[in-house]
Amino acid sequence: MGVINGGFGGRHGSSDPRLPPGQTHVYDWPVLSTGPTPNVDEGRWSFTITTEDEVTHRWNWGELQEVGVEDVVTDIHCVTHWSKLDMAWRGVPMDRLFEDVETSYDYVMVRSYGGYTTNLPLEDLLDGQAWLATEAEGEPLTPEHGGPARLLVPHLYFWKSAKWVRGMEMMPSDDPGFWEQNGYHLRGDPWREERYW
């Protein structure tokens, strides 16, 4: 029908070179949840990495802190066209968590409290590209933003940065997670606008 609602904002273009194509700079931090927000107590929280040999590496909350956190300032890009620039994060580098993990598999299924899943190539989690984040903007992550801990993979669309993360399973092939089974791109590189299948 072709009606244009002139005053309706939608996506505004921007010339900021830090913005990938089709993205709009926002200052707030929109929440996107596919189900009820799980309330995960730090006392019963744990994170596991499971390999093809059924070996499970496990950290509870205290053990995670002992691995050592670092501060990261990074931009995040949601596939729904918003980007948030220069966010201050604190978290444990995934490199450290994978230090003792022996695997020949190249892919990872990330699993969250509440049932959410997302898939990633292992190489996108290593070499200083990903963190298990526990704080954002100087505050502990709130449950609505994925607290107590969420994955942070800022070079990919933000649905890959799973909230309420509880574990990772090594996979021989790049099997799709929740959104990836439902029309979203298997990898999700914002600079290549890998939004949909």
């Binding site: 596919t34 949601c78 729904t80 979203y184």
Partner: protein, 85 residues
Amino acid sequence: MTHVDGNALAGAFATTLGIEITVTVGRCRSCGSSFNLACAHVFITAMGAVMRCGHCQAVLGVIVRGFRETLVNLSGLDYIRVPHL
């Protein structure tokens, strides 16, 4: 963020499948309960709509509107019963 219910998906289902979701009965694959999909819990997000069972919270279906196509996944339902209107 809180859920709404299946009434909110009437437009999306009418457009994509041509069915009236608010009088359609579905059976949850996870817990086996049958109910009018108007009563399903629906999480509307900017990425897509997620329909969950009001009894067991299992995902019943997902609707994602992409650039060129809309994806409708109803794999969490054993079947749907669509009345003749």
